[in-house]
C-alpha cells in the first residue's frame, strides 16, 4: 500500500515534468485555430508546416548554424587551454602557483551578470560587438574557470608514481603532459566539452547583450526574436521553433545522460 502510494506520487511528478514538453510537441502539429478552439485537442491532420515556417520565416536554420559555430569554436579553445592550465597548476611546482590558481578559478564564483556593462565596453573597444569572435572569446573567458576546476579534480587524482616514472625516462614537462597526461585526460575533457556545449548552446545572456544583427543571432536569442516579432501570435509555429531549438541538447542528454548529470552536479556548486 505504501509502495503503491509512492508509485502514484512518482507518476504524478513525472507527468508534471513531461506535460509541458508533450503539450508543446502536440501543439507544434496543430493550426492556431485548433489551438484556440481546443487547447487540449489533438491535431486533425499531421503536417510539418509549422516546422517549415520556423525554419524559413523564423531563420532557425541560420541560428542553428551560428550556434554551432559559436559553441564548437568555444569548446575547442576551452578543450585546448583548460587541461593544460589544470595540469600545470595541479602537478607542476612553480613560483606564484597559488596566486595563479586562484586567478584562474575565481571567475567560477563571479556572476557575469554583474559586469555586463564593462564587458560590452571592452568588446566595443576591441571592435568585437556583434561578432561571433567576440561571443566566442567571452564564452571561453567565462567558462574556463569551471573547466579548469573540473580538470584539476581529475589531474589531482592521477597517482604520482606515473609522473615519477615518466620523469626517470627523461621526458620534459611538456612531453609528459602531451604524451602521457593528455591521453589519460581525454574522457574528462569530453565530459567538460559536452557540458560546455549545452551551456553555450543554451546561453541567452551574452548573445542578448553582444549581438545586434539577426543574421548573427544564436538559437535562444533568435527564438525570442521570432516570438516577439511579426509571428508573435503564431503560437503553433513558435512551438515548432522551441522544439527545434531544444533538439540538439536533448539528443546529447539522451546519449550522455550519466556523464552530463555527474558533471553538472559538480558545476552546480557555482551556479
Amino acid at each position: 500500500m505504501k509502495l503503491f502510494a509512492l508509485a502514484v506520487v512518482l507518476l504524478l511528478v513525472a507527468i508534471l515534468m513531461i506535460y509541458p514538453l508533450a503539450w508543446t510537441l502536440i501543439t507544434s502539429f496543430k493550426t492556431n485555430r485548433e489551438l484556440f478552439l481546443d487547447p487540449w485537442g489533438l491535431p486533425t491532420n499531421i503536417t510539418f508546416e509549422n516546422f517549415n515556417k520556423a525554419i524559413e520565416r523564423g531563420n532557425m536554420d541560420t541560428a542553428m548554424l551560428n550556434s554551432l559555430i559559436v559553441s564548437l569554436g568555444s569548446i575547442f579553445l576551452i578543450s585546448v587551454i583548460a587541461p593544460m592550465a589544470a595540469y600545470a597548476t595541479s602537478r607542476i611546482e612553480f613560483r606564484f602557483r597559488g596566486v595563479v590558481t586562484n586567478l584562474l578559478i575565481a571567475g567560477f564564483f563571479i556572476a557575469p551578470h554583474a559586469v555586463l556593462v564593462p564587458l560590452l565596453v571592452l568588446l566595443r573597444d576591441m571592435g568585437l560587438v556583434d561578432t561571433h569572435l567576440g561571443l566566442i572569446l567571452s564564452y571561453v573567458g567565462w567558462n574556463l574557470p569551471f573547466a579548469i576546476l573540473f580538470m584539476k579534480a581529475f589531474f589531482v587524482s592521477i597517482p604520482s608514481s606515473l609522473q615519477d616514472s615518466a620523469r626517470v625516462d627523461g621526458l620534459s614537462k611538456y612531453a609528459m603532459y602531451w604524451r602521457i597526461m593528455l591521453p589519460l585526460a581525454l574522457p574528462t575533457i569530453l565530459t567538460v566539452a559536452i557540458i560546455m556545449f549545452i551551456g553555450i548552446w543554451n546561453d541567452f545572456l551574452f548573445a542578448f547583450i553582444f549581438l545586434r544583427s539577426p543574421s548573427n543571432f544564436t538559437v535562444p536569442i533568435n527564438l525570442l526574436n521570432f516570438t516577439t516579432g511579426r509571428y508573435g501570435s503564431d503560437y503553433v509555429a513558435q512551438s515548432a521553433a522551441v522544439l527545434i531549438s531544444a533538439l540538439p541538447t536533448v539528443i546529447l542528454y539522451l546519449v550522455f545522460a550519466e556523464r552530463i548529470r555527474r558533471g553538472v552536479a559538480f558545476m552546480a556548486f557555482g551556479r
Partner: protein, 323 residues
C-alpha cells in the same frame, strides 16, 4: 595494451630527439632548460590571459564606470561620485524591490527544492530501475535552454489557451483561474513555479552525488542492526546531508543573483515592475534606459553581495573542490 605501445613509441622518438639535440647549439639548450623550468607558468598563461582580459579587467573597470554619468554612444563622461549609489538605495524603489525579489527567490528555492530534492534522491537510490528513469525525466528541463522553457511556461500560463487555467476549471477550482503572469499578485509566484520545475532535477542530482559518496557499508550495517527505512534516513542520511543543505542554501542565494533569462522572457520585470530581479533591473537601466553608469553601480552591488555569499560557499566547499 595500447597505452604501453604508445609509451614505447614515445621513448624511441625521444632517443632520436636527444641525438638531434646533441648537434644543436648550447644556446638552444639553454632556451630549452628555461622553457622547462617555466613550464608551469607557461602552460597556465593562455588561461591566465583570458581571465585577466575578460574577467578581471571588466571587474575593476566596473567600479570606475559606476562613478560617472555617460552613454554608450557619446564620448563624454560626467563624474558624479557616489550619486549612482545614493540614488540606488534612497531613490529607486524598483531596485529595492528587486533585492526583495532575489531574497524571495532564494528563500522559496531552498524551502521547496531542498526537501523535495532530498526525498527524490532517497527514493531514486532505493529503487534503482524505476528510479533511474524517474531521475532522467526530472533532470530533462535542465538541458533545455531557459528561453525555450520560459516560452513553454508562458503558454502554460496563457489566459486563453493555457493549461493551468483549463486544469483549474476542469477540477472545479475555476475561481482561481487568472492571467497568471499579467497579475501583480501572482506573476512572481508563477515564475517561482517554473523555477522549481527546472531546478528540482538539479537539486536531486546534487543530493544523489553527495549520498553516493557515503560508503554503502554504513547502510548495510544499519540494516543488520534492524533500522527501518525512516530510522536509517534520520540516523545516517540526514546528518550527512546537513553539510549539503548548507551548501545548497548558499548556492540558492548566489544563484538568485545570477537570475535573468526566465524573468526577462516571461515578464520583462512586469507587471508594474513587480517581478524585477537585480540583474533584469541592471539590464533595463544600462541598455534600455541608456544609463550604463547606473547599471555598472548595480553590478557593483551584485558583485559585492554575491562575493560575500560565495566566500561562505568556498569556506564550506574548499575541502571538496581542491582535494
Amino acid at each position: 595494451m595500447p597505452r604501453r605501445g604508445f609509451y614505447h613509441l614515445s621513448r624511441s622518438s625521444l632517443r632520436e630527439k636527444q641525438k638531434q639535440s646533441a648537434t644543436n647549439f648550447s644556446a638552444a639548450k639553454g632556451l630549452g632548460r628555461f622553457l622547462d623550468s617555466q613550464a608551469g607558468l607557461l602552460m597556465s598563461l593562455p588561461a591566465l590571459i583570458f581571465a585577466l582580459i575578460f574577467i578581471f579587467y571588466p571587474l575593476v573597470q566596473m567600479f570606475y564606470l559606476s562613478l560617472f554619468r555617460w552613454t554608450f554612444v557619446s564620448p563624454t563622461m560626467v563624474f558624479v561620485g557616489l550619486e549612482n549609489y545614493t540614488r540606488m538605495f534612497f531613490n529607486d524603489a524598483v531596485y529595492l524591490r528587486s533585492l526583495l525579489n532575489v531574497v524571495l527567490l532564494a528563500a522559496q528555492s531552498s524551502a521547496i527544492q531542498i526537501p523535495i530534492g532530498i526525498a527524490f534522491a532517497t527514493i531514486i537510490l532505493r529503487n534503482r530501475r524505476v528510479g533511474g528513469l524517474f531521475w532522467a525525466i526530472i533532470f530533462l528541463p535542465y538541458v533545455i535552454s531557459s528561453v525555450a522553457v520560459s516560452l513553454i511556461w508562458t503558454w502554460m500560463y496563457n489566459p486563453y489557451f493555457g493549461s493551468v487555467n483549463i486544469f483549474l476549471n476542469a477540477v472545479g477550482l475555476g475561481f482561481l483561474a487568472r492571467p497568471w503572469l499579467g497579475d501583480v499578485n501572482t506573476a512572481l509566484i508563477a515564475i517561482f513555479g517554473t523555477v522549481n520545475w527546472i531546478y528540482i532535477g538539479l537539486t536531486t542530482t546534487m543530493t544523489i552525488a553527495t549520498l553516493r559518496s557515503i560508503p554503502p557499508s554504513i547502510f548495510e550495517s544499519a540494516r543488520v542492526d534492524g533500522l527501518s527505512g525512516f530510522q536509517e534516513f534520520r540516523k545516517i542520511t540526514l546528518p550527512l546531508l546537513k553539510e549539503l543543505i548548507t551548501v545548497l542554501v548558499i548556492i540558492d542565494i548566489a544563484g538568485a543573483f545570477k537570475f535573468f533569462d526566465l524573468i526577462w522572457v516571461m515578464t520583462q520585470g512586469g507587471p508594474s515592475d513587480s517581478t524585477h530581479v537585480t540583474t533584469t533591473w541592471l539590464y533595463r537601466a544600462a541598455f534600455r534606459a541608456s544609463e550604463p553608469g547606473y547599471g555598472a553601480a548595480i553590478g557593483v552591488t551584485i558583485f559585492v553581495i554575491s562575493f560575500v555569499v560565495v566566500q561562505l560557499l568556498i569556506k564550506f566547499m574548499r575541502s571538496r573542490l581542491t582535494r
